[in-house]
């Protein structure tokens, strides 16, 4: 099959280019894209990409495969290859450090903005703050985010305003803390979000939902944040 890989090494190259590599998959098996990258790296050790757990938990190997963002380690070739060709690019919208490795600083800066930790200024109980099973269930579909950035880098609003729009990943996390019964900084959190960019730059096109490798729904969480903002203001 033919693999076309985005290559850019700022120390050597003047501009990024696409490198076409013909490769035979051993035994014609349906391997994961990450395994294919390892085969490519065996051929050309200068190819750069991030990877760690190789089982969809660490979120390191987010990349754009034939036009769709996803995690290389849990995406089988059969799910993305079309006409025996695969185009691999870094996640779109963020600066490229080298080849498939991107600079995620802006993504993390947005995550930091939403204060991703419990804030509770009441006196702590002797052992721990308890939650009922129902309160705990509120966090399902929110806490599972692994910060791979597949969703935020699939979002045009984040492409155009990565410094102002929190992005689907950050907003999913924002709602994760707004919905937590042990957190009592809801007012402060909502006040930080009520501007024309942070939340409201989302126009609900749901690219985030279609690419999330964990099957989460940031658009739904953003809708719930809007509802909380509306309740707070009316």
């Amino acid at each position: 099959m033919l693999v076309s890989v985005y290559r850019y090494n700022p120390d050597v190259d003047d501009a990024p280019y696409m490198q076409d590599i013909h490769i035979d998959i051993p035994g014609g098996k349906d391997i994961m894209v990450l395994d294919l990258l390892q085969l490519l790296k065996d051929k050309d050790p200068s190819l750069g990409y991030r990877r760690s757990c190789r089982e969809g938990v660490c979120g390191s190997d987010g990349m754009n495969m034939n036009g769709k963002n996803g995690l290389a380690c849990i995406t089988p070739l059969s799910a993305v290859v079309k006409k025996d060709k695969l185009v691999l690019r870094p996640l779109p919208g963020l600066p490229v450090i080298r080849d498939l490795v991107i600079d995620m600083s802006q993504f993390y800066a947005q995550y930091e903005k939403i204060k991703p930790y419990l804030i509770n200024d009441s006196a702590p109980p002797a052992i721990e703050r308890l939650q009922s099973p129902e309160e705990r269930a509120e966090l399902d579909g929110l806490y599972e985010c692994i910060l791979c950035a597949c969703c935020s880098t699939a979002c045009p609003s984040f492409w155009w305003n990565p410094d102002k729009f929190i992005g689907p990943s950050g907003l999913l996390q924002a709602y994760r803390f707004l919905a937590d019964s042990r957190d009592n900084a809801q007012e402060e959190r909502l006040a930080d979000l009520d501007d024309p960019f942070s939340v409201f730059r989302c126009h609900g096109i749901m690219n985030c939902v279609s690419v999330c490798p964990k099957g989460l729904n940031p658009t739904k969480a953003i809708g719930k944040i809007r509802k909380l903002l509306l309740q707070r203001a009316t």
């Binding site: 305003n161 006040a191 930080d192 501007d195 024309p196 960019f197 942070s198 203001a233």
Partner: protein, 115 residues
């Protein structure tokens, strides 16, 4: 919080709510006019004229014009802040948009109340 002085109401929630409320007005007016045209197949100038002479229709039409202006401003403000990263050019385009919106609103008021 991200601040921006050129947005419609400074608050994201306020802009969002205004855009939805004005969308309902635009829909209601469209449905009314389409319905009126369908239910009045032999429409002549006098009927059309008397429809717009009615004070209720004038109020409805003015509501449409103001809703359209607010809706368009919020929408175009989003487009300009997305696609024009150069501050000077963006401000210029927003100023022209604001000026044209004002001209159209004033002109529309003259049309509606001048019948």
């Amino acid at each position: 919080m991200v601040t921006n002085v050129t947005s419609f109401g400074r608050s994201g929630l306020y802009d969002w709510m205004i855009q939805r409320v004005t969308a309902v007005v635009l829909l209601a007016y469209t449905l009314f006019i389409v319905g009126y045209l369908l239910l009045t197949p032999d429409l002549d100038f006098n009927q059309w004229n008397s429809l717009f002479e009615n004070i209720a229709m004038r109020i409805f039409s003015l509501m449409l014009v103001l809703s359209f202006a607010a809706h368009a401003w919020i929408g175009l403000w989003c487009v300009t802040t997305d696609y024009i990263p150069m501050t000077g050019l963006r401000f210029l385009v927003q100023s022209v948009t604001g000026f044209m919106t004002f001209v159209y609103v004033t002109w529309a008021i003259q049309v509606i109340w001048g019948i």
